[in-house]
Symmetry: C2
Subunit: 308 residues, 2 copies
């Protein structure tokens, strides 16, 4: 098993590569301040968990052993970060969550105005698909892989995935969502993109979607998608705003159902631990070597045991 | 040359096919009302000019002679209509144009609320890329074509195209944009997607981007993109709201620069006619037969001589 110091180094290397790539792909010169708003929204921000999942999965299936696979994985990692960042920009707007603080900074609509925030989000979504479809001159990523990555990302972010989950979230304010309904909402809202991150990484290699390794990685991604949200709810209920870098307790204040409000704190924590066990079991069943799957295993630990 | 009755029949056939395809691809069952909002925004609506341009260009290059090309063209036509429709939904919102009437109906945020309108627009953008990347089981459109269509659509709708133009538009309120700046804005805001419509259709065939026919069709698309907006400005200044199906005179009221405010009505009309001549010249230089390019020629006439 890869030792923790190796993991930290791997992690740091990925973060630098992703930041550098986003830096080069998110245009500073887009007209009328749009580029600045996009860069503000996506650069320098967040844990890059989705990008790390893409890269860890791509490494696990051996995709990054060749230059084409490395480029594909980096593009997929940046594309999924662009989708995630656009969703936060739109989610923070007054007509949605009306949040003024994100990662310790004023949210995009506070800094740039609502109209620019909406446009920046829209342009970031388009940019995600641009990044996945480079010209022959820009990249060696072949068309089959490009189309497959676009397919996975579009399905995870649209009506059946992230956007659909947000619509359920919107409709759930003040309602009595039961646990299965809450689970369905989060499976779409947060889970779909986290699961897709793992699949995007795996799709940079040559796994067929019917292979046991693909199925196992998908199972891992699903468990982590749900665990992430449960831990989010636990942290929202237990940590102060300055630790989270965003306004704590907002969901409870807005009378939104959460895992904590439905299950209680202890049961929510236990559920997250049980999903971690499931994730490890999926990895063990993947047929990938222990060394190959180590970064995914360590990311799972981090997702469940993080404190912000 | 195709006679006008043939064109009307071609036009009617395309509209039925596009409506039927959108009807099947825009999900009625997306959660929490999201599907209804998406369908309200895109079904039954508009002139479908972009879809007609896609189909006319695909026909012109012979792409629709085979089943794969026909499916690709229909998918591209629906994808571009989804992008156009999402941009209208977001553009109509209070933080942008704050318009309450569109195609004679309440705008999406009036009918469904602002948050749902924003999500519906977001999900429609994702759906456009879903439609372009069908699974093997759904469609015979090959991956090379899928990736190429995604590439064209993403670039036309993002920061360098439509969203960039909207950002300039936003920044231009009350400002003294000169004619080149206004042209640049519209080349992106409206022109990029209209030009891309022609390119998407052409990309359903086997034209290389370096071929004279591709260049000629791109020139045609560019001329029509700009002409469309100039005619829009002329109509906005001369037609009542009930003819337009939207609130007339809004740009002038908002102190936004338009071709009419910059050039005057007569010069704006003359500019549109001159772009029509350019479009016909591009078609004549394409190397395509007169019969093959007839629908594009007739669409150009309609764009410039429409009255709403």
């Amino acid at each position: 098993m890869t030792a923790a110091p190796d993991f930290e180094q791997w992690n740091a290397t990925v973060l630098v590569a992703v930041e550098r790539a986003l830096e080069s792909w998110v245009p500073a010169d887009a007209p009328a301040g749009l580029g600045q708003a996009m860069r503000y929204a996506v650069l320098d921000g967040g844990k890059r968990l989705r990008a790390l999942l893409v890269m860890a999965a791509a490494d696990a299936v051996g995709a990054t052993a060749c230059a084409q696979g490395r480029d594909a994985a980096l593009r997929a990692a940046c594309a999924v970060e662009l989708i995630h960042a656009y969703s936060l920009v739109h989610d923070d707007m007054p007509c949605m969550d009306n949040d003024v603080l994100r990662r310790g900074k004023p949210t995009v609509h506070v800094a740039f105005g609502e109209a620019q925030a909406m446009l920046a989000g829209d342009a970031m979504q388009a940019l995600a698909f641009e990044v996945l479809t480079p010209d022959d001159g820009e990249s060696a990523v072949d068309a089959v892989r490009q189309a497959r990555l676009c397919r996975l990302l579009a399905r995870a972010s649209g009506h059946a995935g992230m956007a659909g989950g947000q619509a359920i979230d919107l409709a759930s304010v003040g309602s009595a969502l039961n646990e299965p309904a809450l689970r369905d909402m989060h499976r779409r809202k947060t889970g779909a993109l986290l699961r897709a991150s793992v699949q995007l990484g795996a799709a940079c290699g040559d796994l067929a979607e019917s292979s046991p390794a693909w199925q196992a990685l998908t199972g891992y991604g699903e468990a982590m998608g749900l665990a992430f949200q449960i831990v989010d709810d636990v942290l929202d209920a237990t940590q102060p705003s300055d630790t989270l870098g965003k306004t704590a307790g907002k969901d409870a204040d807005a009378n939104k159902p959460t895992y904590v409000s439905l299950l209680g704190l202890d049961a929510a924590r236990a559920e997250a631990e049980s999903l971690l066990v499931q994730a490890h079991a999926s990895l063990a069943a993947s047929g990938l070597s222990e060394a190959a799957r180590a970064p995914l295993a360590l990311l799972a630990e981090r997702i469940v045991h993080r404190i912000h």
